[in-house]
């Protein structure tokens, strides 16, 4: 990797100041995506601002129908948290499917959201659950937060502080891993709320997470796997590569959605 200047942030304000003061500074949380990119010299920040030294960013709280996870919550902590397992087991399940145990000890919710890798898992949960991303400056609805391939609404000196997940009646996440990379080739998060069903897909879209209105409509009327029978999604905008053509990804979206609904119905 290229050389850079390393800073330990003492507080969120400190981190924001450090980020604003350098030409191309980047925050680093767990570093499980950023460091591999830097090793391949595909990312070359002038400065790294370490958020790992800021206290209090790894809280897990459930209150009033909302589960709030601090940005520095490690995937391993989310997947084993009794609070998460009790209030939003689908999210605990999702966290347990990210990477491998060692990666889950380092990787964070905030890092995953801010990176917006089109094959990452958390964006599907955030969009499906209608999460609110709390930053150092404001609150952003998940659907407005993810703006494209590795793109988010975050400003350069803006830091993800937490995510608030409304607790649904039912939810589930089904993931079909890319056989080689193990990222989601297709991941479908389904959440049923009293007034709405949201289906969010990661891995399949060429520009990141997206919703499937036709599935949502069918599931709003009948929240059963059978309700999705005969429905399919268009291949427009889907990724295609040696592991999965756009057609295959479209097909898997249907399969994973049906399985997620079946799992949500337990």
């Amino acid at each position: 990797m290229y050389d850079f200047t390393y800073h330990k942030a003492a507080s969120l304000d400190d981190a924001a100041k450090l980020l604003a003061s350098a030409v191309d500074a980047k925050p680093i949380a767990g570093g499980q995506s950023l460091l591999p990119m830097m090793k391949f010299r595909l990312a070359s920040p002038s400065d790294l601002v370490d958020l790992g030294t800021i206290a209090g960013l790894d809280r897990i709280e459930a209150e009033g129908g909302t589960l709030t996870l601090g940005a520095m919550c490690r995937h391993g902590a989310v997947c084993t948290s009794e609070v998460v397992q009790k209030t939003l087991p689908a999210l605990a399940h999702l966290a347990g499917l990210i990477g491998d145990p060692a990666v889950r000890h380092r990787g964070t919710l905030g890092g995953s959201l801010a990176n917006n890798d089109p094959t990452a898992d958390y964006p599907a949960a955030a969009v499906s659950l209608g999460a609110t991303i709390v930053t150092s400056k404001r609150e952003i609805a998940a659907e407005d937060f993810f703006t494209g391939l590795f793109e988010t609404a975050l400003e350069p000196d803006e830091i993800v502080v937490a995510a608030r997940f409304p607790v649904p009646e039912k939810a589930a996440y089904e993931k079909f891993r890319n056989p080689a990379s193990r990222y989601a080739m297709v991941g479908v998060f389904v959440a049923k709320f009293p007034d709405v069903v949201r289906v969010a897909v990661t891995g399949a879209g060429a520009s990141g997470v997206f919703r499937v209105p036709s599935f949502e409509e069918a599931l709003s009327k009948d929240f059963s796997a059978d309700a999705l029978k005969g429905l399919s999604i268009s291949t427009d905008g889907l990724a295609g590569d040696i592991h999965a053509s756009a057609e295959y990804r479209a097909h898997l979206v249907g399969v994973m959605a049906r399985r997620a609904v079946a799992a949500a119905n337990g």
Binding site: P101, H105, R182
Partner: protein, 166 residues
Amino acid sequence: MPAVSMTVNGTPVTADIDPRTLLVQFLREHLRLTGTHVGCDTSQCGACVVHVNGEAVKSCAMLAVQADGAEVLTIEGVAQGDTLHPMQEAFRDNHGLQCGFCTPGMIMTALDMVRRLGPVLDDHTIREELEGNLCRCTGYHNIVKSIAAGARAMAADDTPRRAAAE
């Protein structure tokens, strides 16, 4: 150059390092603890797994400066002198290694597995937990056997051990 201090295998170490130094480079090149290996550049093979503050991490995906103040345990710190840890013994007893290159990462991952999941590990669980550790020699069969046996042996073992390896 920033200074880092950490405890490695119970010994405090301090060094001035280039910030781009990965933890694995710090261990291998600065401390000459070459038991931690590098088998890939995409953080997938797991040959570099060490424990930081008691948890398994891939030392190729962590900066040494991020381990400032941490307790680090590498494969070199697992045995007590010439007495092998029960997990190391289990790998030897069950032929859980051939070329030995992935072995340190496998053992460090196995110890973390037992810490989190307890001493009774079934075949399926062990295989899923090895998601981030690649081996090209053994076909994994005897690694899985070794970890199951090592986990059981750890439950029966009452030797006091260094943090993170218990």
